[in-house]
């Protein structure tokens, strides 16, 4: 295994490793931030669904030679819209609607990808290939990160109030539904960026695990956002190190590091305080 000093030396020497590191940090930050809103709105399933549903968009973009972000956005929003439509125009519950729509999109994506096989590598889309990040990819990722930060800064209070109490927000005239679809759009952009580092299958882990870890440490949304972004970035960098030095796939390496940070927090965070809670009898919620 490469030592950390060797990893740093290699960073100085190889452009591809620098690109990987920059991308990994940016993706960790943006997925941590958006992930907070996904888990607070009880939309983990939706996050999973949208991240899978962009697959046909990726395939179509390759086929037509257009930017992946455009193809993915179209299919991501289409999936979000269809999920909402099926749930509100039938007696089916939202999770059922999610299951139907995202699996259908995912299946379509597989078929389209196999048709476009010559240009792409399915394995890389599914599990990420951070060591093959191009300069264009870095630029695109930076633009998405900028959008995510602007979105959260400008709509912070709207995101806060609709996540906490959507009914109240609607009574004073806020277009909660519009904000929901804006969030879904940003989520698809984040998903596409995260494709490079962790791949489609594990995007959901980058959205949920750092945000959930941050949730265990704080009672303030602002702090939670900063913590989740930091944990996302740290997981990405440490994961990249293991990926490079042990030749592991980057996605699983990053996700495992995030899961370990979560596990440690689960045991020692003050809000969770598993150790103290195990020793005294659990309080029955009122």
């Amino acid at each position: 295994m490469t030592s950390i000093t060797a990893f740093i030396t290699a960073l100085g020497r190889y452009d591809f490793l620098q690109s990987a590191l920059i991308t990994a940090i940016m993706v960790g930050v943006m997925s941590g931030i958006i992930g907070c809103f996904i888990i607070l709105r009880g939309m983990s399933m939706m996050g999973d669904a949208i991240s899978h549903a962009v697959l046909p968009g990726v395939a179509v973009a390759y086929m037509l030679g257009i930017n992946v972000l455009i193809g993915a956005s179209v299919f991501g929003l289409l999936a979000a819209g269809l999920i909402g439509f099926v749930a509100s125009h039938s007696k089916l519950k939202t999770d059922t609607s999610i299951g139907i729509v995202f699996s259908a999109f995912y299946a379509l994506g597989f078929i389209l990808i196999s048709m476009a096989e010559s240009a792409t590598n399915l394995h890389h889309i599914l599990f990420g290939n951070i060591l093959a990040v191009s300069d264009t990819d870095i630029m695109t990722t930076a633009v998405v990160l900028g959008l995510v930060i602007l979105f959260v800064v400008f709509f912070y209070k709207e995101l806060l109030v609709t996540s906490f109490d959507a009914t109240f927000a609607r009574t004073y005239g806020l277009k909660a539904q519009l904000l929901h679809y804006a969030l879904m759009l940003v989520l698809t952009l984040v998903t596409v960026s995260a494709l490079q580092t962790v791949g489609i299958i594990l995007v959901v882990a980058m959205l949920i695990t750092p945000a959930a870890t941050a949730f265990l440490w704080t009672d303030k949304l602002g702090t939670m956002l900063v913590l989740a972004a930091t944990i996302g970035a740290v997981s990405s960098v440490v994961g990249l190190y293991f990926s490079y030095s042990l030749n592991w796939a980057s996605g699983p390496a990053i996700v495992l590091i995030a899961a370990i940070i979560f596990g440690v927090s689960f045991l020692i965070s003050p809000k969770q305080a598993l150790f103290t809670n195990l020793r005294r009898p659990r309080q029955v919620p009122a």
Partner: protein
């Protein structure tokens, strides 16, 4: 005056409210009572524009309510809220300023000061920095009343504010309702039981898919109305003793 005309609401073709016409007076606390499923919550949600109605118009001083959304404050039943949400008591009250602030404006000094003052009015200033899950049911209800205070609305609608709360919270909330009334606001309270009806309210609306009766409490809260809307037994219990005198 808040005026509702020919309001009809149906869920999946099952009519809940049919051709309801009712008005609510300013400077009054008006209670809405009725049996379970009578459409009490539906009435206020339709008024607030939270659910679609098949027909009906709501006006406030002859202006459509849609133009006055910022003049409405709604204190919801607490049950659906996520009490683990990373938000403090103070921040919940501060969200009451969001409507008038509009997009892209952050709450500033004035908004923070108003929120703290509102918390003090309901006796919870000491809890400002607590996470909301740390409060009791009654305290939480007072927080939402404090949020309604900072909304500075002309019409305040409360859905079952007195359910399962302690006496101290009930008194604190009642004090605020009376202050609002004295300031000329229109206060509408959906009430789940018949206890203390004459203690809480000035005016009363009895609802059972349509309006059974409406007017001052003295005119409306009578044995015949309660017997017709609820049951003869309940009417007997509530009005036992002197005929027509509410407990």
């Amino acid at each position: 005056m808040l005026n509702i005309q020919n309001l009809t609401v149906a869920y999946d073709d099952t009519p809940v409210l049919t051709d309801v016409a009712v008005h609510f007076n300013a400077s009054k606390i008006t209670g809405i009572i009725g049996p379970n499923g009578a459409g009490k919550s539906t009435l206020i949600k339709a008024m607030l524009g939270l659910i679609k109605s098949q027909s009906g118009t709501t006006t406030y001083n002859d202006r459509p309510i849609k133009q006055l959304q910022r003049q409405l404050a709604y204190v919801e039943q607490r049950k659906d809220l996520d009490l683990t949400f990373p938000i403090t008591v103070f921040e919940v009250v501060l969200t009451g300023t969001y409507g008038k602030l509009g997009l892209f404006h952050r709450p500033g000094k004035a908004e923070r000061k108003a929120s703290l003052a509102a918390l003090a009015q309901v006796g919870l200033e000491k809890f400002a920095d607590r996470q909301i899950g740390a409060l009791s049911g009654g305290q939480l209800q007072r927080v939402f009343v404090a949020r309604a205070i900072v909304q500075q609305a002309e019409i305040i609608i409360l859905d079952e504010p007195f359910v399962g709360i302690d006496l101290q919270s009930e008194t604190a909330i009642m004090t605020i309702l009376k202050q609002w009334r004295d300031a000329g606001k229109t206060i509408i309270v959906v009430h789940h039981d018949l206890n203390k009806v004459s203690h809480y309210f000035d005016d009363l609306v009895i609802l059972n898919h349509g309006i059974v009766d409406a007017g001052t409490v003295a005119d409306v809260y009578r044995p015949a109305n309660i017997a017709k809307t609820f049951s003869q037994d309940l009417s007997n219990v509530l009005f036992s003793g002197a005929e027509g005198v509410a407990l």
